[in-house]
Symmetry: D2
Amino acid sequence: MKPKIGILGYGVIGKRLADAVILQDDMELVGVAGRSASFSLRDANLKGYKVFITDQPKPEDASQRLCTIDGTFEDLLINCDVLLDCTPKGIPNQYLDLYNSQKDLITIVQGGEKHNFGGTSFNSFANYNDSFGKKKIRVISCSSTGSTRFVYTLDKYFGLDHAFISLVRRGSDLIKSGSGLFNCLKPVLGQSHHAIDVNTVLPDLNLFSMAVQAPTTFSHVLNIQADLKKPVTAQEVIEVFENMPRVIVGEGMHSTAELMEYYMDMGRPRRDRPEIFLWKESVVVKDKTVYASINVHMESITIPETIDCVRAVCGLEENNWKSVYKTDLALNIQKHKECYKK
Amino acid sequence: MKPKIGILGYGVIGKRLADAVILQDDMELVGVAGRSASFSLRDANLKGYKVFITDQPKPEDASQRLCTIDGTFEDLLINCDVLLDCTPKGIPNQYLDLYNSQKDLITIVQGGEKHNFGGTSFNSFANYNDSFGKKKIRVISCSSTGSTRFVYTLDKYFGLDHAFISLVRRGSDLIKSGSGLFNCLKPVLGQSHHAIDVNTVLPDLNLFSMAVQAPTTFSHVLNIQADLKKPVTAQEVIEVFENMPRVIVGEGMHSTAELMEYYMDMGRPRRDRPEIFLWKESVVVKDKTVYASINVHMESITIPETIDCVRAVCGLEENNWKSVYKTDLALNIQKHKECYKK
Amino acid sequence: MKPKIGILGYGVIGKRLADAVILQDDMELVGVAGRSASFSLRDANLKGYKVFITDQPKPEDASQRLCTIDGTFEDLLINCDVLLDCTPKGIPNQYLDLYNSQKDLITIVQGGEKHNFGGTSFNSFANYNDSFGKKKIRVISCSSTGSTRFVYTLDKYFGLDHAFISLVRRGSDLIKSGSGLFNCLKPVLGQSHHAIDVNTVLPDLNLFSMAVQAPTTFSHVLNIQADLKKPVTAQEVIEVFENMPRVIVGEGMHSTAELMEYYMDMGRPRRDRPEIFLWKESVVVKDKTVYASINVHMESITIPETIDCVRAVCGLEENNWKSVYKTDLALNIQKHKECYKK
Amino acid sequence: MKPKIGILGYGVIGKRLADAVILQDDMELVGVAGRSASFSLRDANLKGYKVFITDQPKPEDASQRLCTIDGTFEDLLINCDVLLDCTPKGIPNQYLDLYNSQKDLITIVQGGEKHNFGGTSFNSFANYNDSFGKKKIRVISCSSTGSTRFVYTLDKYFGLDHAFISLVRRGSDLIKSGSGLFNCLKPVLGQSHHAIDVNTVLPDLNLFSMAVQAPTTFSHVLNIQADLKKPVTAQEVIEVFENMPRVIVGEGMHSTAELMEYYMDMGRPRRDRPEIFLWKESVVVKDKTVYASINVHMESITIPETIDCVRAVCGLEENNWKSVYKTDLALNIQKHKECYKK
């Protein structure tokens, strides 16, 4: 029996997850839920997804004509084995009683929530098995997922002594047009949450992170200093990343705008890029220390990890590399098969 | 015999035209030409387009490995019946001698060029027939194409006495990351070129336009005051636009960012929107005067017009509404069939 | 006896008004009030202004050390003849009972409030006398003040038949770094409030306005089509504006960024420009129709009008041109004396 | 005899240096030179500076009326002992023959030039004495000056083993409205020039720097990991910076926009801040490693260093701390006197 998936929140993450679930052959989408009728949910209608809403519909509301409603969120919930809660930071906690009232329900939240939402955080490479049999799991945030792929790889192949991650974050999602950061830089003062977040899935690593918000809607740039346990060459570093799934090693593209254009040209849905991008030209090695710049597309990067998480918690696949391969193939982001034999 | 089409310039317009030509059944793409090897042209390789370059390749150049080159621009040109020159403003004039040397070549340029490039400007609705038998034609610019669709429609149905168009233009294309307008507004002082440009295809209309450049990469907004020859209602205005091809009348979307997100959701290639968008809520009528706001996606709006232009100059179709329908169907932007019976 | 002035709200407008009141010889600043201790109010401390707060101070709050507090807002209020309420939109209404409880108090609010706050709106040129003897007055908003100066002048000298104002508005104040409009354009759909607002001080004029918000912190640009009652020349239009107070006619500056830099160079406090700026090169006349672009610095433009308003309501000066001259002299923005003899 | 100072280039740096030279009692401003008549140079006229131009004036040019010209650049040069060349990157080299032709002329360039312009780079704290008797000196760039103040202080008080500096740079100066970075991030791939630049004045330090350009006009943010030679506390780190000239340790301001507003409020000319700003809340210490965020106002930070540089090369003051104090007092940015006794 395929697990039945419901999605709450049809924003940046929710709509991408709906499109991703549909592409998997071992899970089934029951429907998506938003707050109220909207042009976003009309798009869900057009794609054939069942549409549910959390707020009471108001018959007199002009927005009602925007889309067709199939029922309330509760109607959706009772038909789900797994709920992917993609609502903004803090909202999942408000639904806790409802989730607990449905004893066998598995709830997966995104990285806006804290680790203690269910006590289990998830990354496909770092700790896939930790989620087996759990009911409440958090997929770590976009920057943390990107950071984890990077430091996990260095640690696996060369041993990681310490990493300092300096992030430049986007100031707003594209659609939130009225509330972006504008013409200024906003540093997180002191340690940012990213290193702490990575440590929830890779607890033994020695990390520190700082972050600055910048006025762009186009993905994060991470400058990293990684002190390894042994000397390496830049070529060795580049090669291990060329052979890692969900990592692109590229050259010749000088800004995040050029990267975005490139992914639009390639015809990726919504110009998404669930892989981290490592600028080949940025890799500098001084003895045991590696410096590198990577780029993380915040809107799409946690999508494949969330699909893997469904597989892990539902017991659909025991081996994380097999799940990663299955997901990548379905999302059409796979690398050659050898990259998944670790 | 299908006309053979070559494209010079593989930037914002060129790559969209290549993808559009491929979708037509009455013309054939010979290849695309850029200045030199680039990651954009690698994308052309991947799509199976033949790739030509204008500059001498330098064997020692690292960028050479970025894509595969099939020959020089001259190699492309001798195999073309029609050249779509999509190079930046002023460049087409530098190629004039080359174009003239190939006696039967038809050259179509974009709106960066002036009307006197060949003395004929083109819009599918306004003056399709004017291009019959011409060798050098200019498709008017993005804002002018958008403005033309709007004022043409008002004039056709209600008679237009005068229109004042106040444009807010995007400050940079998305990909030109290093040279955008930033944190300021830059007015064109005095009359902008737009009204003059529209008059090259609709010479009898009485128009004035002003423009301000703003720091966004996301399409233009046009605020228009149109004085008609007779009183109308807002509902009548909305209805004629609902029945015009290449015009979307929409509501519930409050910014150009929401519009962009919507077109990404719909899966349009490169989140393009070759239709102008008329905000339904913006239409206000005072007796004979109409006020309205429309949105023009500068990157894609001239693509269908350019395809129609090929058909007009090559004598593939005598009736403009039939060409418009054929193009819209191929690009998957068609409205119901009745809209094309005028 | 000089009227005693208190200021509530020490943000963009409040702090500029405090600095302006201090420069007048016929009024006295009692103090300024903000919500709670802040680095902005520390600046008020440094300037020697008494500082009051509306919220209860929390002794344990780290922010307390940021500035010195002289009392509560109520302490300030009982010592004031005139309160300049510069709090954000909607807040002044929450204080209405408090204001009414102090029978002789005069309250002046800014353009975020509606005309019906007290039923009287104010502009120095348009309707100075209307405020004589009133207790609750609203100075119209920044864009409306700028528009009023422009259409008032045209109407006075040439007779105005109709004006269409198309505004491009800044998306955020400079300091509100976390909530600006970003990489998009946001049109007001339908008629914007500006024409309506100008009609509260110039009720007989025939006006329509549309507005688009753009991502800049640097002032508004207004494109205007004005139909006059008689034919004029561009030179005549330019001359009447060259002789109007609070209007600068300039040339050679191509963007709002260049304008801002210029005012920083001139040493204006906070690089402010309380005058509207008319781009000389933008003035085009076709028979009886004038087209022009003006620039309005939203942060400072209502400051002189508010000072004049104090004079009008307190009966300090009966003639508006004398008040305008007095204010301009004190703020060091005066033109030659002849400009004030109308 | 006071040295006679000429300034070439009246842009972002040149106009600030002119205003700073005027405030010193031991040097004299001869005049400023720009390319041609402009509204910037009219501001120089108004301030009473003599104005020279490098290009031939064209009598028919409308821009001539913008300002009054006192002569050519050559006229200025023959009357100068010291030329402050503030032209854009690469231009100073084009004037080398002219400079060499005036045997005793001292030329000081800004950080856009390379160290080998004259083989001597300058920072007031790091290597004041190295410039004694030199004819061609370079003041290091804005980010490098800011970085130098920070690492110099840590090294002086605690010994510095290694520092990694990750910069987020502004994408454009405020006035360059047509050519800013827009809605994207642009990393310098590999090591940025900053660490190398700091090593020209502090050759013994072990440094690495990476940089990302971001779309803001408002100063740079630097995230730094500094490994010291001994354990320290955050309090100790904060205290040494509180006692360093040209460093502000502040709290309660959460973005570069709030910082800018604060300096406008304080009435600093052009809202400048020649001090680096250390966010107190950002300082985190782990044993011997310090993490901190600092902010550098790129437009004004090298001004005091350039004034010190004039004093060093002209032999006006042998002790760098005395020069720093003298400059800071004149520019009204001095800290208490004890900070200058090292």
